[in-house]
Amino acid sequence: MEGELALLGKYIGAGLATIGLGGAGIGVGHIAGNFLAGALRNPSAAPGQMANLFVGIAFAEALGIFSFLIALLLMFAV
């Protein structure tokens, strides 16, 4: 498909793909918030869980970055 309409759809689609950011934000915030809540209850156990915190954040964030990938694909590859 060519022309103005295809361009319109491309930009709207790329914009809509950024909604995925919200999901990643909720996920990362949930993990960090729960970590902080747990760390304040038992501060001595907190340093040992830093690795788990970062792995969890990385997994949650990856899904948000997939939406960024979709936006990039729409902008430059379709």
Binding site: A51, F54, V55, I57, A58, A62, I65, L69
Partner: protein
């Protein structure tokens, strides 16, 4: 607003910084052409060598500044591999150490103004992630034989759920190199693009450009954090994947 129209869009395009250029002339890019990517990769390797080899050449009981930095990195990664991948994973410590230092130094060197961030290119991170994926798969089959496939058959789940879980595990296993590479490349690319967008604002706002410049300083601090955290995350995920191949059966 007191800005002129530039035919739609910013004067400095935020994605211009990611263009791969040949170092000499502007001919076509072949696989052997020295480009800005290869230059900054070489600088990262040289920096790694300087930090780890040259600074530990004259070792002392009371370490010099360079030696203590090198020891800090060594101890940090060694502990991470031992904690996450297990004692068996220590055989892969040189690989993981190299991976961490390369990603970390590429991220940090990319933050120098006018430099080039090699790890913001998905092609670069995809190669790193695919190598990790191939290593994990081959080592897993080499060490466990066909038993490596047992990680897809979750034996702690009810029997009815196991085929469904097997499909999910299989998909998540093959998505690993994709998410592993996009996470690093995407984070770096997004951060650098944000800095350039604010730089474009600063160029267009006259006296009020103090605000975007202050914002750039703040974002730059954040980007330093992101550069280290993403190198850390890339490495720790490598260790997590490696645990599947060398460690005991999980789940």
């Amino acid at each position: 607003m007191a800005t002129e129209e530039h035919g739609g869009g910013l004067q400095i395009h935020p994605m211009d910084q990611f263009i791969v250029k040949p170092l000499f002339g502007d001919g076509p890019i072949e696989w052997y052409t020295p480009t800005n990517v290869t230059l900054w990769m070489a600088i990262a390797i040289l920096a790694m060598t300087a930090l780890l080899v040259l600074s530990t050449r004259r070792r002392a009981i009371v370490p010099s500044r360079g030696q203590s930095v090198a020891e800090l990195f060594y101890g940090f990664i060694h502990k991470m591999v031992e904690d996450v991948a297990g004692h068996e994973g220590l055989k892969f410590f040189p690989y993981i150490m190299t991976l961490f230092m390369f990603v970390f130094l590429s991220n940090i060197l990319g933050l120098i103004p006018m430099s080039f961030t090699t790890t913001s290119h998905i092609a670069v991170t995809a190669v790193l992630a695919l190598l990790v994926f191939l290593t994990v798969t081959l080592v897993g089959f080499y060490r466990k034989g066909i038993g490596f496939l047992a990680m897809f058959w979750v034996s702690s789940a009810p029997l009815v759920l196991r085929p469904i879980l097997a499909v999910i595990e299989l998909i998540s296993y093959f998505v690993r190199p994709l998410s592993h590479s996009i996470r690093l490349g995407g984070n770096l690319m997004a951060g650098h693009a944000v800095i350039k967008v604010f730089a474009g604002f600063a160029g267009a706002m006259g006296i009020a450009s103090v605000v975007p410049i202050a914002a750039i300083v703040a974002i730059y601090g954040l980007e330093l954090l992101v550069a280290s955290v993403q190198a850390y995350v890339f490495t720790i995920l490598t260790c997590v994947y490696l645990r599947d191949a060398v460690g005991d059966a999980h789940h």
